[in-house]
Point group: D3
Chain length 302, copies 6
Amino acid sequence: MVGKHAEDPPWDVGELVQALRTARSSQEAWRMDEAEQRQRPSRDAIVRVVADLRAVLFPSHFGISEFSEESIDFFVGNTLDRTLRQLEEQVRRALRYVPPQAISAPGDPRALVGLFAQRLPAIRMALEHDIRAAYEGDPAAQSRSEVIFCYPGITAIIHHRIAHELYRLGVPLVPRVISEIAHGATGIDIHPGAQIGERFFIDHGTGVVIGETSVIGNRVRVYQGVTLGARNFPRDGEGVLVKGAPRHPVIEDDVVIYAGATILGRITIGRGSTIGGNVWLTRSLPPDSHIAQAQLRGDPEP
Amino acid sequence: MVGKHAEDPPWDVGELVQALRTARSSQEAWRMDEAEQRQRPSRDAIVRVVADLRAVLFPSHFGISEFSEESIDFFVGNTLDRTLRQLEEQVRRALRYVPPQAISAPGDPRALVGLFAQRLPAIRMALEHDIRAAYEGDPAAQSRSEVIFCYPGITAIIHHRIAHELYRLGVPLVPRVISEIAHGATGIDIHPGAQIGERFFIDHGTGVVIGETSVIGNRVRVYQGVTLGARNFPRDGEGVLVKGAPRHPVIEDDVVIYAGATILGRITIGRGSTIGGNVWLTRSLPPDSHIAQAQLRGDPEP
Amino acid sequence: MVGKHAEDPPWDVGELVQALRTARSSQEAWRMDEAEQRQRPSRDAIVRVVADLRAVLFPSHFGISEFSEESIDFFVGNTLDRTLRQLEEQVRRALRYVPPQAISAPGDPRALVGLFAQRLPAIRMALEHDIRAAYEGDPAAQSRSEVIFCYPGITAIIHHRIAHELYRLGVPLVPRVISEIAHGATGIDIHPGAQIGERFFIDHGTGVVIGETSVIGNRVRVYQGVTLGARNFPRDGEGVLVKGAPRHPVIEDDVVIYAGATILGRITIGRGSTIGGNVWLTRSLPPDSHIAQAQLRGDPEP
Amino acid sequence: MVGKHAEDPPWDVGELVQALRTARSSQEAWRMDEAEQRQRPSRDAIVRVVADLRAVLFPSHFGISEFSEESIDFFVGNTLDRTLRQLEEQVRRALRYVPPQAISAPGDPRALVGLFAQRLPAIRMALEHDIRAAYEGDPAAQSRSEVIFCYPGITAIIHHRIAHELYRLGVPLVPRVISEIAHGATGIDIHPGAQIGERFFIDHGTGVVIGETSVIGNRVRVYQGVTLGARNFPRDGEGVLVKGAPRHPVIEDDVVIYAGATILGRITIGRGSTIGGNVWLTRSLPPDSHIAQAQLRGDPEP
Amino acid sequence: MVGKHAEDPPWDVGELVQALRTARSSQEAWRMDEAEQRQRPSRDAIVRVVADLRAVLFPSHFGISEFSEESIDFFVGNTLDRTLRQLEEQVRRALRYVPPQAISAPGDPRALVGLFAQRLPAIRMALEHDIRAAYEGDPAAQSRSEVIFCYPGITAIIHHRIAHELYRLGVPLVPRVISEIAHGATGIDIHPGAQIGERFFIDHGTGVVIGETSVIGNRVRVYQGVTLGARNFPRDGEGVLVKGAPRHPVIEDDVVIYAGATILGRITIGRGSTIGGNVWLTRSLPPDSHIAQAQLRGDPEP
Amino acid sequence: MVGKHAEDPPWDVGELVQALRTARSSQEAWRMDEAEQRQRPSRDAIVRVVADLRAVLFPSHFGISEFSEESIDFFVGNTLDRTLRQLEEQVRRALRYVPPQAISAPGDPRALVGLFAQRLPAIRMALEHDIRAAYEGDPAAQSRSEVIFCYPGITAIIHHRIAHELYRLGVPLVPRVISEIAHGATGIDIHPGAQIGERFFIDHGTGVVIGETSVIGNRVRVYQGVTLGARNFPRDGEGVLVKGAPRHPVIEDDVVIYAGATILGRITIGRGSTIGGNVWLTRSLPPDSHIAQAQLRGDPEP
């Protein structure tokens, strides 16, 4: 350490840097496939891309608050132009970064982003249905704009529909970062792999978990704290988890799942069923089932 | 599309802009009342207003960290002056924006903000009681400042007491944006319509939901994951939801509700009652009731 | 009020400032120990310190996304140098700020930060184990970087391992601000006092609460909505809460706790036990216990 | 002054505020026409408007550095849409602000900005000629982009051609703020009233001053330190300056004025003339005149 | 150098760091008095202090553009409170930093800033006179606000009157940084030591230089490119420059100095004199002198 | 134009965009070589690179104001690592951008930046000499830090020595942007091609112009307003300017040039000469020459 001075702090940054380098290189074996990259995707960059995409989809709510019809097109075009370039760079990095064995390598980043971009109008249309479902399903909703601005379920589904398209195209990492941005903002954790039908509505939403291989039909309604989870994880002959196997529930059309219900495993909840609050469910139900938790009264607790 | 160049990306932003415009205009019928506005409230602007109001209420915690007595008054005056003007603009936009049938039009934005401002000292006093309730109710709390800085329940109630005043004045949209800002930051979802008494304390708080027409007395304590929800939604003759009807619980003074309890419908929990963790409750309770969940031991699950 | 003008708003900022000053001074008695300070810790400053520390621990994920080996050392050294100075200032303020009776005064801020800094390499090594536990424990995890970027459980444990070291050194307030930053971002609320062993994995995590005096062994796995809480709070002869007494569970090695389970009081869950989802538990369990909630089917609800 | 504390600084901000208020109100008489306004133009807002307009005129140099043909149109449209709205607001404020006697009131701000906007394509075309004049007139210029990026004379003329259009429309204050922004950045001080022909080139430029009523022909070249100033100022019967009277030189086509020359008064420099460096000139010259300073050799000085 | 990788750039940052350290330590002898400090004044911090002070002096021009009378006092108080604390810190650093032999040590930083603060109202009053002098002296000035917003001479004199008070109090370095901020923005270079009387007006201003020991009376008018400089520099017996000796001109009341004039040495320009443009002057003039440059006509040059 | 609304402004952004596109394509012929690029150098990026390089060279003045010896090395390494990568990108763009005929293509950007980086320590050493020359040459200078913080001549020479190295390596455009950044900040315009010896000192500096092919020896001192310019520009047979030919003065060692002197053409000023203020000089001078302007007294002027 050079030139110690009376006013200098007692810590030795040089030594700390060395000790941290040593600490980083511990257990290097298990992650050696990542060690060779010199560029990594940037979470901050993906945060900006997603904010831009949301503004592209809802320009007068998340983009510009004063506008004419024409303004909106210019805003959308300008924002889209910038953000697709940035997304391309992040996809490029993600493709180089992910362990080659983990993913069947898709096309080049530019082509992937082009395919993704073509899906944006369909995403926009699906989201309008989701918004309408929220507006019509919640007696507290006063206006369409309130739903767009204030409903965490809408925030979550906007992010999910974006992330899911990237997931479908085989883009690694980026869709998961997007879904986790939404999770952090809303407390709603939807894996980008989940397939979700039309007019999906999550109310309140904190604590909702929807697993990677979940399949959800049309007009499904879900409340806070609902889990669509895995019951157990298949392992291969060497005891290593088999990644990606179907292990989450199938929820058919017009199902309602009340707050705190936990539905686990590759089971099917038949169309039109209602699952009561806090129910714990690990087997399939036929259509139009109605499940509720028992209720007990007792002594002061706890 | 003009001037294609070898280096240009494969997507055609012009076509995407057009396709997105078409997508936006799908289902236009159901939201035609909003389409005519050229200015919308801005979520970002409301975020700044609320941060300023919080700093006005707790200037030495959220405003300036070095100060004299005098500094604080200048800070409060300067911040208040700026933020009330900005709030006025957002209220003005919200009033023009909301479907006229949805709300009995109140006075002009300037007068409304004036009325709101007069309530700030009372809000401040109520919050000091909430802080004290948290400090005295949690053995882990080391200091009043820890409570103000670190308790999500305090963050939530600061936002709620601000939002509720605006709600009472009939300001549309803005209070909901404020409550959702708090929800995003804390996982506590309190509708601005909820009436909450003195010395209210939410501990931990993630997953708490308090519905629009809830009425909560004094000295009530609530833990994470508690829901005060609606049991079913009244619909009018045409099957459309009746908005705004009383449908959430009444919680009387001195009630404690433990983590994960779900209380649904326009029922009354009598004063001094205790609701155990994870209880599911859909009927009224007399004063001093004590409700707890049953408990079972069984085989490995899941 | 000076110089009223036709365009001026109707509120009188001067009067509001006075009324707010009066409101602030209400109930002054109970917080008089804080009133004398002219400098307070700054939440924003602590937010920056923690972001820097996370970047120091994972420089290529949260610091610089383009780099060589050498770049990383320079980045780490430069960031560490700056952030330790800033942490020192916040610790200094926190030490002056906290009620003297509340804490056994530790050494000077500079020495405390020096001791904290020495712990960073060990924190880094522990975190690599946590990451590996997440990667190996979740079939949806595609890569180590996905775990670091996207798993809220990892975000929470990074913050906790930092906060816990400061807590152990007796630094007031700052560790709680850090844990609450993580709580806001992830919905996972771990008190900095909690002792947590190696290879700890929280999946999804929203709604998890881990209390101040919890003790958690190695290889423990926890899902969303799990509470490790206190059952009741010891009070002294005058009915005042006794702060800091052991009142949260002890979880031994290799325990798995499924979503929504609530475990309350100073009980011990024996090594290798499994606690089913939504279970409510207030007494100790021997090793290798397996607890699950009962399940009921019934009428439509609610 | 309230609550003095041992750590407080010795100054009394409250007293200073009062003393500054008193100081501000001294000499109130001479500026009473301004005192009644509650909104003022904002220099910062005008700075942003001008930066946006420059980017609109040269989108690939001052707007976006990666683009396709299409990108540019979207960028231009989006930026123009935003900046014309902001310009309108500043024009509105300027029109209310300026002493009514000082200016013959023009139309409403919206109409004025509309007229201004229509002039932008012509401004763009004129600027291309200016750039070409610089490129062809300076042997050091390597490329057109170097001229646009690096020539202060181009920066100055971009600002001038914008400011002059606003000046011609009778907009008060705003054009002067724009010209002073350019002056601060380049050291070239062109009053927005100056009439300047095609292919105008200022090299280096620091210290150039071009007065309000100057008239400059086509293909004029000017070097650093040149002044086109007034010789004396006409006063009315009461000794007050007559504002706006022609008092600066007329420079005809194809004149070159070398560094440091000073040309004063309403004189005419005939077409094709050359004015040597540092010349001091106060009378008209016929076409094709060539003026140079005498030169002396002497003793060491200073 | 560690871990070279095929993608790494060819430069070796580690070696560069070492070579730069060596380069920095060359010639260490002549600056050893500075080497021991661990904190330096920050130019950026002083930039912010000066911008704040300007806003304090002209709150509705450089502070807030929408306001009531009351707003202004709160803005001024809040800004002043913050900025005087920051100024104190910079003064403290400057006092420790400057070579002890170079300056007769003044009081402590806090007291110095207190004395400076007391001068602000008088500075404000002097500036109003300067503004009026500019408005009345320039036929192009349309309004008082145009003068404040747009006249570089006003920008320069605002900075000078602030810097000069700090200079008079013996504060090292800080006043020079302030004067150089103005120089960079306006091209007007006034040493903070210069004594300048009432109603001082600099028009256009680029290239004006006013030296440290200049003395300027009341109602003096100066144009662009004027130098009040030193003719030669007294040296001591060892040939070292004597710092601080009077060596710049004395300009008495009511003098006008036209563009480009150069006045050198400790000479006196008598009251009421007029110095023509580009004049070079090195001897004193009696009152009411009128000096002008000769003028020559000749052949084409250059 | 789509969907006109009563509140929309009268301008039609779509039409303006088209008209601006047409305006941009006028005179396309003369700049067709640039039209094909899809990426341009970014002035803002170069501004950041230069600010970083200045901080790398003077870390405790322009980088970090609180530090230990060690801090500085980490700061320098971290900043250098980042900024050289960014410089490489700008160099890459500049190389593609410039008309191929205009420049003899040098090596690849990465190699060029590597060569540039190696020169940084030598630049640092040269600058220390420049600083010392300023300190010793100006009686007003109180400390070395004052010179570094406050002397525009030092700002200019820092930028020049950086820009000149890039110029020497054949990098197009970037060095000119750097020199113009310095010109804008200081009023000193030094072309990056100028060759400048050791211990160069410019005092005050506004208006100084030093042309591309100037050659300046050691220990030269220059004051404000000095021009080292070209007398006439050689043209080729078709009347097109010959770019790059020697056309500016050679200034030998130990020359002093006082304020406002203009020296034009490829002449030589012999070593030890003194050029008086405002002198106009177009022929060579032998060593130890002393030139001064004549001085005249006359009637009131202007």
